[in-house]
Symmetry: C2
Subunit: 155 residues, 2 copies
DNA sequence: GCTGAAAAGCACAACGG
DNA sequence: CCGTTGTGCTTTTCAGC
């Protein structure tokens, strides 16, 4: 199932659910203009085909004592497939790293990190990241504030 | 309400809801070990205090024809407060930009962008981003693949 | 494909421990 | 604070169109 197989009602459903993932099926059906049972069938199909990957609750980091968001650009010593896989596995194991991308350009990986404070983050960079045997260079961008916080796919 | 005011049951609730934001209250209550009504009261309190910011449905980008994820590091000509605000407003208006951070270091902003393909993205960079009167420098990192896709806050 | 009705399950409020 | 109870709504299935 690809975008070509979605009609306008499916697109509407995805838009509504992105904005409010806990909307009841009855309200969703009313918003997209069909009755509840076919609406639920459409949602289930979108889930089964994988277009809907899941439902997440978004938490407020600062209220939970997570005051630092940073991005790390990491360059590896060697870019062999085995090294890329080994470093990927390492990022998966580090709880500070919330998302990681393999990228092109100057560095090899971009890490999106969240930590309690600067001390926690620096300890991670020194003790885990730069200490990792795959890692050659680390450049860090500390965030001051998030100015756009959308996450909605524009469909 | 801060993290200090959360007990172990609240923490469990947040963990469960992060992983599955559409879990029913009955199932959530069973998982955290209390009955449904007090569980729902806790969830409502977490919502009202803002620790729970909202519920989102996560979609699969490639299945929707969004095959390109990139990060742009943008430097402004002048970093006055008015310029920062003007550029922040611009990022909000661009649908390709899904998240934007004000950062320290070499550049001023980091943009997380999603586009259909390289052509769409290059058009955005040339026609919107570098054409913006605030913008001085743009450095782009195209992603090859996402190796860690968590999003769960480690609490 | 959709609609409509019916049964099962859930959310939510009220009350008592 | 938690738990129990009860009501109304939602979900979900199963007909029929």
């Amino acid at each position: 199932m690809l975008r070509a197989d979605l009609d306008q009602i499916d697109i509407k459903i995805l838009r509504e659910l992105q904005a409010d993932g806990r909307m009841t099926n009855v309200e969703l059906a009313a918003r997209v203009g069909i009755s509840a049972p076919p609406c639920l069938r459409r949602v289930r199909r979108l889930e089964e085909t994988g277009i809907i990957e899941g439902y997440r609750t978004v938490l407020n980091g600062p209220m939970l004592g997570l005051d630092l968001v940073a991005f790390c650009m990491v360059g590896l010593k060697h870019q062999s497939d085995a090294n890329l896989k080994a470093f990927s596995a390492a990022t998966t194991a580090w709880p500070l790293v919330r998302q990681a991308w393999l990228v092109n350009g100057d560095s090899d990986f971009l890490l999106h990190c969240v930590a309690e404070n600067l001390t926690t983050f620096q300890n991670f960079v020194i003790e885990d990241l730069t200490a990792n045997e795959q890692v050659d260079t680390v450049r860090t961008m500390l965030t001051i504030r998030q100015v756009k916080k959308v996450g909605l796919v524009d469909i």
